[in-house]
């Protein structure tokens, strides 16, 4: 019943089996798909056009996930179900087995709960947000598909199911980003997201193939075990496999330079952005890195500096971009990219708990911020902050919750973001990446800075848009409140060294896994780091307020960051879109030419040559062997038979006495012959 799971030498974590809740956890993975099919079939005829079904499925999932969550917090849950669906006998007595199933451990329980909780809030919110919009039924069907695919992904006990969920998430995001496909740029944004992700998926697929063929199994459990034991065959390919898997994660989790799709993905309806940025889609890459954590810790050491470097570039460089864009959703999108950089840096540096704790808290306040932005957009009918301003008077509930989300994101005590960001900073410092830690500190300053800008431009000053903005309906504000609560208190879960009664500390229950892991996390508060983090965040707010708050005379907020060189560079998004476009445009011609030449001369040559050889051969076979040889033989036999028969049939005269004469002649010859024989002897 109880298994010992050692997390570190000094930690011994006991894990229960979770009973029926873990045994049938697969229901959570299936329910959204059931909802998806039912919505497609019956949604149009229902009162809320199918939203009820999506919400019902997600509510059941949330209840289930909550039970698992508390079971895991109190006693730990560890359970894996796998059903074989196919196998390939590649190795002697060691075939590659394809399995589907679900895994219930600390990591997946956390993800189940985030997806279900954020998903449910977003679904409820979307009922209000999408009222009277186009294709509502299809929208909710696709949302269900999105959440379901993510659950399949995070519940996957092996690479194969992970890829299934991974691609399902990609498909659903494509459908949802391009929800307003009538405008060309929206469908272009959807395609940009899909293509960028496909490019990265090549890395995931190749990495999976390499790992699967090396260890002869696709199970994460086996990979972890092989990594822990330092299997020589795996060690030989670990770095290349690690890079390939990381490349896949870079696409989904929008790491520099593959982040270019994420800001454009704002073309979708705001609930989609909230879901995508908080719970589903972008967290998948971090999740993959966490699942394959032992590989990077034990064997693929060489890949880690690169991962940390890319994470650091992402967290700082993309944060700066959020300072200059006017679209409120794009500000939040760049903020997400930046926070994903934090998570990636932390996980790569060995901070399993730190990175995932930031994922955990970030899910709440980023969903909250997106839904708040959606409420604002709903009110002013524009995405641009230049059309907003002064909204705190019109939308008090949205304002309050948005500020809570912003403070949490900026990392102000005691909001959730403070604890998780502090954990990352401490981990980076402990692991010896001091330089990266200071980049992260600078990133914290930038984060506070741009969130202050958003609040100043949106909620302070005078209203600059058209019409009269109004507070969103209750169905939209209630999810905001529900998300604001964990944004405030979620940090308590992981105050280092603190345990709440029978509930375990986050780092402890997150570490419940099949295979022991060498995680590094803070054992106690590091007050100096916390002070630095809090200090720069407050400094960011103050500086931001000084720059962006309203001008005394005009009562209008300024949106100007008058720094020469840097400002134009940021406005142009580091010219990365230009680089990507230029790369594709310049490569397209030569590549197409080479491919065409290869096709025309090499492949066609081979095909034509084979055809010509086959034709010559068949001509010889037909003319020489068949016509002359076989037909000649057949014809010859019949001809001989025919002429012989023609000659011999003359013997058949039909006259009895000729036959009789023949018989008598034969008799006489016989008698004479026998007589002579007798005489001679």
């Amino acid at each position: 019943m109880f298994r010992l799971v050692a997390q570190e030498a000094e930690h011994v974590v006991e894990a229960g089996s979770g009973g029926i809740w873990a045994q049938y956890a697969g229901i959570m993975l299936v329910l959204p798909f059931v909802a998806f099919i039912l919505i497609i079939l019956f949604g149009k005829r229902m009162k809320r056009q199918g939203a009820e079904l999506a919400i019902a499925a997600m509510a059941i999932n949330l209840a289930w996930a909550t039970v698992l969550f508390f079971l895991n917090m109190t006693e730990g849950v560890l359970h894996t179900e796998q059903v074989e669906v196919a196998r390939i006998g590649l190795f002697d007595g060691n075939p590659l087995v394809f399995e589907l199933g679900w895994v219930v451990d600390g990591l997946s329980v956390m993800m189940y709960w985030i997806v279900a909780f954020v998903g449910l809030m977003v679904f409820i919110y979307a009922v209000g947000y999408m009222q009277g919009d186009v294709r509502v039924t299809f929208f909710f069907a696709a949302l269900s598909l999105f959440a379901g695919s993510m659950l399949v992904l995070v519940g996957a006990p092996n690479f194969i199911q992970l890829i299934v969920g991974w691609e399902g998430v990609g498909l659903a995001s494509y459908l949802l980003i391009g929800h307003y496909w009538e405008a060309k740029e929206n469908s272009n944004a959807a395609m940009k997201a899909f293509y960028t992700n496909r490019l990265a998926d090549v890395g995931l697929t190749l990495g999976t193939i390499i790992v699967g063929f090396t260890i002869g199994s696709f199970r994460f459990e086996d990979l972890s075990r092989a990594s822990e034991e330092g299997m020589p065959a795996l060690a030989a390919v670990a770095v290349i496999a690690g890079f390939l898997l990381f490349f896949g994660a870079m696409g989904k989790s929008a790491q520099f330079p593959l982040h270019i799709w994420l800001p454009d993905a704002m073309a979708g309806p705001t609930p989609v952005s909230a879901l995508m940025h908080a719970a589903t889609m972008v967290t998948a890459g971090i999740y993959l890195m966490a699942r394959t954590f032992p590989l990077y810790q034990n064997l693929a050491q060489e890949a880690r500096p690169w991962m940390i470097g890319i994470g650091a570039v992402t967290l700082f460089g993309m944060g700066l971009l959020a300072l200059v864009v006017d679209d409120i959703k794009r500000v939040l999108a760049y903020s997400t990219v930046s926070q994903l950089g934090y998570m990636m840096t932390a996980v790569a540096a060995g901070g399993y708990t730190a990175g995932l704790f930031h994922l955990f808290t970030h899910a709440f306040f980023k969903a909250l911020l997106f839904l708040g932005a959606g409420a604002v957009i709903h009110a002013v009918h524009s995405n641009n902050m230049s059309d907003m301003g002064g909204l705190r008077k019109y939308m008090p509930k949205t304002f309050t919750t948005f500020v809570i989300g912003a403070l949490a994101l900026a990392g102000i005590l005691p909001f959730a973001g403070f604890w998780s960001k502090d954990e990352i900073l401490v981990t980076l410092g402990d692991e010896g990446y001091r330089g990266v830690m200071w980049i992260a500190v600078a990133g914290a300053f930038v984060t506070a800075f741009y969130m202050t800008r958003v609040i100043a431009l949106t909620f302070f000053g005078e209203y600059r848009g058209h019409g009269h903005p109004h507070e969103a309906p209750a169905i939209m504000t209630n999810p905001l409140v529900a998300l604001a609560i964990p944004s405030v208190i979620a940090g308590i879960a992981n105050i280092p060294g603190v345990t709440l009664g029978s509930l375990r500390n986050f780092s402890e229950w997150l570490g419940v896994r099949e295979v022991v892991m060498g995680d590094h996390h803070a054992e106690s508060m590091d007050l100096s780091t916390a002070a630095v983090g809090l200090g720069v965040a407050l400094a960011g707010i103050v500086v931001g307020w000084l720059i962006f708050s309203r001008d005394a005379e005009t009562q209008k907020a300024r949106d100007r960051l008058e720094i020469p060189l840097l400002y134009p560079l940021l406005r142009a998004k580091y010219y990365l879109d230009h680089v990507a476009l230029g790369l594709v445009a310049t490569l397209k011609g030569p590549v197409a030419k080479v491919v065409n030449w290869t096709n025309q001369y090499v492949i066609d040559g081979i095909v034509n040559g084979a055809g010509a050889v086959a034709m010559l051969l068949s001509r010889f076979v037909y003319g020489g062997i068949d016509q002359r040889g076989i037909d000649g033989l057949v014809h010859g036999v019949t001809m001989v038979t025919d002429s012989a028969g023609g000659a011999l049939r003359r013997l058949q005269t039909g006259r009895i006495q000729q036959y009789a004469a023949g018989v008598v002649t034969g008799l006489v010859l016989l008698v004479v012959g026998v007589g002579l024989f007798v005489v001679i002897n």
């Binding site: 058949q652 005269t653 039909g654 006259r655 009895i656 006495q657 009789a660 004469a661 008598v664």
Partner: protein, 101 residues
Amino acid sequence: MILNQFLLLAALLFSLGVYGLLARRNAVMILLAIELMLAGVNINLIAFEAAIRTQLAVGQIFAVFVITVAAAEVGIGLAIVLMIFRNRRSANVDELNLMKW
């Protein structure tokens, strides 16, 4: 025991039969000629039996067999001839050339 006379008689009867078989045109006469040949063979068998006296009387038994087969043969042969005669109003074998190529 004068075996030679019996053998000569048998040879004579057989030769007469052969002559009749080749020379006659009437189908009935041909059948009779065949009977003559069989009679010659029978005499031969009996003569040798009488001369040698085998323990199981093989010569006599064979003679009886030959008589039996001859009787059956004549029965069928005469029936065929009768049918031919009814159809063609003739039993002349020269005119019977239906069986040629």
